[in-house]
């Protein structure tokens, strides 16, 4: 559905004030459908689901935002328009930074956060940033190859008949010039202001080459009581590479 200029996937449901709300926040260069199976599950299991397309991504128009706090504020505007007072946030990669930022700056609006494939600080390699700045296809190659576990091109996709590399490339190719660079720079530049005190779950892939589990350690140490689920065989694209394990971890934490 459209909420102002923003697109939110709701799994074909209207927002019900009586239900708990989950907000799904995608990573750099991606869109709401990266959470396809998981967001659909919760939408059909008693939650309000708002799987957002950030500006300049998927079905949301407008120029890409250039800082994580700006993304947070944009998301809060969407929640205000949707009259959602409190929500749990499920972020992937760049979306985890928005979740952290929101939990630190608007603690009264955040119930729980889930950080899927995260690192803090989320420093982006110079080669990746530079390629994205030039709108070079090299950036899509880096995102595609390092965005999955090494076994992915040679292994079976849990989604029958789908080719994960091809799907990632096709998504990235749809981006307007400059969008991927804006996202990556926002990740690279972000500094968390404040503390996160809400219940937090980390879902990490042991084979993640963009945000390896060790890169999440400083953050895990900062958030008291945070839980972690480490998925042994997955890379950075956990929702696609390990859809059931990711969903099971979400169900357990959010119930």
């Amino acid at each position: 559905m459209k909420i102002g200029q923003a697109f939110a996937y709701t799994a074909n449901h209207e927002i019900d004030p009586a239900k708990r709300t989950l907000v799904f926040l995608h990573g750099a260069g991606l869109d709401h459908s990266w959470f396809g199976l998981q967001s659909r599950y919760f939408g059909y299991h008693g939650y309000n689901v708002l799987a957002l397309d950030l500006p300049g991504h998927g079905k949301s128009a407008g120029p890409a935002l250039t800082t994580v706090p700006a993304m947070t504020d944009w998301m809060m505007g969407v929640l205000d328009k949707a009259q959602v007072q409190k929500a749990s946030l499920v972020g992937h990669s760049m979306g985890t930074l928005i979740s952290l930022d929101c939990a630190a700056r608007y603690p009264q609006r955040v119930e729980r956060i889930v950080l899927i494939g995260t690192a803090y600080p989320m420093k982006v390699g110079e080669a990746y940033l530079d390629a994205a700045k030039r709108d070079s296809y090299d950036a899509f190659d880096i995102g595609t190859i390092f965005g999955h576990a090494p076994r992915v091109p040679l292994g079976g996709n849990p989604n029958p008949g789908m080719w994960m590399y091809g799907d990632t490339q096709a998504r990235l190719e749809r981006l307007a010039p400059g969008v991927l660079h804006a996202d990556l720079k926002a990740c690279n530049d972000y500094t968390l202001a404040g503390e996160v005190k809400c219940p937090t779950l980390f879902i990490l892939g042991r084979r993640d080459m963009l945000t390896p589990p060790r890169a999440a350690k400083p953050l895990q140490d900062k958030i008291a009581g945070a839980k972690t689920v480490l998925i042994d065989y997955s890379g950075h694209s956990l929702m696609a590479e390990a859809p059931d394990a990711t969903l099971d971890a979400l169900i357990e934490f959010l119930r």
């Binding site: 074909n12 079976g156 029958p160």
Partner: protein, 430 residues
């Protein structure tokens, strides 16, 4: 960060889509000869049915062995995914049925496999889908034939049997200007010789019966989506961008912009039309795909020898092969098919139909049958077989005469093939 590298074509042909079976360690792709899959519990069952979890429910919709073939061909083509079907014809039908309703229109190349021509010219017409056939030699013919209700441009990468080279980049540009996708039948070229998505095509399919399998033992098709066509921006594809009552009011493009076509094709097309591939067939075709990168160069090499032999033969009036300088698409062939123009060629035998009959019946190694792309060399007379339902005008437009003979060059010793052809040609002229 080290430079990223994709696995090469040869590696993907052998591995894409399959890890060793976790249950048994089987290195080869197991044949999951099962109709259905046990659910963990009722909740799991409901989630699978509602596309909340990945997995298999019923082998008409998906099967683990078939999924390996689908993922592997998608990887070789650079698509987002694929659906394997009961035949190449089923793949063509699935593509069309997924994209459009009665009242729609297709612009198709006139140089098509006879079966595809039948489907478009006669069968789909009964269901309200009209096709305008155009000569593919001038891409502008496609543009001129586009109407407000056109929903698809379609052609074969190498036309049948005149071996017209489809100008994929130009025709894709014409399609996209009209906000419709370009579908190509890539059977004759295989992903080894041409990757149509890199040239701008949006959808493609193979008769996997042919070179992908390569052994002439299994009928199958594979439909692949590039994931690049923007269905929402086009605004012409209600089947993909509006709520579908047949699946919980799902808006497929809302579920995923890149997967919308395959979602609907699988969730509606395989579910309702049911032209799925059997797991044994998928296994057999996979055995062929694993050596595609070795077979195709040999096919092309031997074809070139045959082409040059026939071109110099006194019993041959004309040889039709795009690598020849006198072929109308020679320059385009050099540009789009640098690794070779495939293993199918046509030629005109002197003496017309009687000579053709004598030639075919005198061959010893070439098998007279209705197929191409086998490891064994094949021969057929299109005017009396594959294209026999076409009118004289349509035949002429497709470049077929009573003396046209089509060869599919296999993997035998090339000299043996030349000797066989020479002997039969001599008999034909007596």
């Amino acid at each position: 960060m080290a430079g990223p590298k994709y696995p090469g074509f040869d590696t993907l042909a052998l591995h894409a889509g399959q890890s060793p079976d976790p249950a048994t360690g089987s290195r080869a792709v197991p044949i999951y000869q099962t109709t259905s899959y046990v659910f963990r519990d009722t909740e799991h069952a409901a989630s699978l049915f509602n596309m909340e979890r990945a997995g298999h429910v019923y082998s008409r919709i998906s099967n683990p062995t078939v999924a390996v073939l689908e993922e592997r061909v998608a990887a070789l083509e650079g698509g987002v995914g694929a659906i394997a079907t009961a035949s190449g014809q089923a793949a063509l039908h699935l593509a069309i049925a997924t994209l459009m309703d009665a009242g729609s229109h297709i612009v198709a190349s006139g140089s098509l496999y006879g079966g595809s021509h039948n489907l478009l010219a006669y069968t789909l017409k009964r269901f309200g889908i009209e096709t305008t056939f155009v000569s593919p030699r001038d891409p502008e013919n496609f543009r001129r034939a586009i109407k407000p209700n056109t929903r698809l441009l379609f052609g074969e990468t190498l036309g049948n049997p005149g071996l017209d080279v489809l100008d994929v980049p130009t025709i894709a540009g014409i399609a996209h200007a009209a906000k419709v996708p370009l579908l190509v039948d890539a059977t004759f070229t295989t992903p080894y010789l041409m990757q149509p998505f890199k040239l701008g095509a949006d959808l493609l399919y193979h008769s996997a019966t042919k070179f992908l399998g390569g052994h002439g033992i299994a009928i199958g098709g594979v439909l692949v989506d590039s994931g690049r066509f923007d269905w929402d921006a086009s605004g012409k594809f209600a089947t993909l961008t509006e709520a579908y009552a047949g699946f919980h009011n799902m808006d497929f493009a809302e579920e995923s912009g890149t997967r919308a076509f395959l979602l609907r094709a699988r969730r509606e097309g395989l579910r309702d039309f049911g032209a799925c591939m059997a797991p044994m067939t998928a296994f057999q075709i996979l055995q062929g795909v694993e050596t595609l990168h070795l077979r195709m160069p040999r096919h092309v090499e031997s074809t070139r020898e045959v082409v040059h032999f026939l071109a110099a033969h006194s019993a041959v009036a004309k040889v039709i092969y795009p690598e020849l300088a006198d072929h109308p698409d020679h320059a385009l062939c050099q540009k789009l098919l640098p690794k070779g123009a495939g293993a199918v060629l046509s030629f005109e035998i002197k003496g017309g139909r009687p000579a053709g009959k004598a030639f075919i019946e005198s061959l010893r190694i070439f098998s007279h049958l209705a197929n191409v792309g086998d490891a064994k060399s094949l021969v057929i007379h299109p005017a009396s077989t594959t294209h026999y339902r076409m009118s004289d005008d349509d035949l002429r437009n497709a470049g077929i005469t009573a003396g046209t003979v089509r060869l599919s060059i296999g993997l035998e010793e090339a000299q043996d093939l030349l000797d066989d052809l020479d002997r039969a040609l001599k008999v034909s002229q007596k």
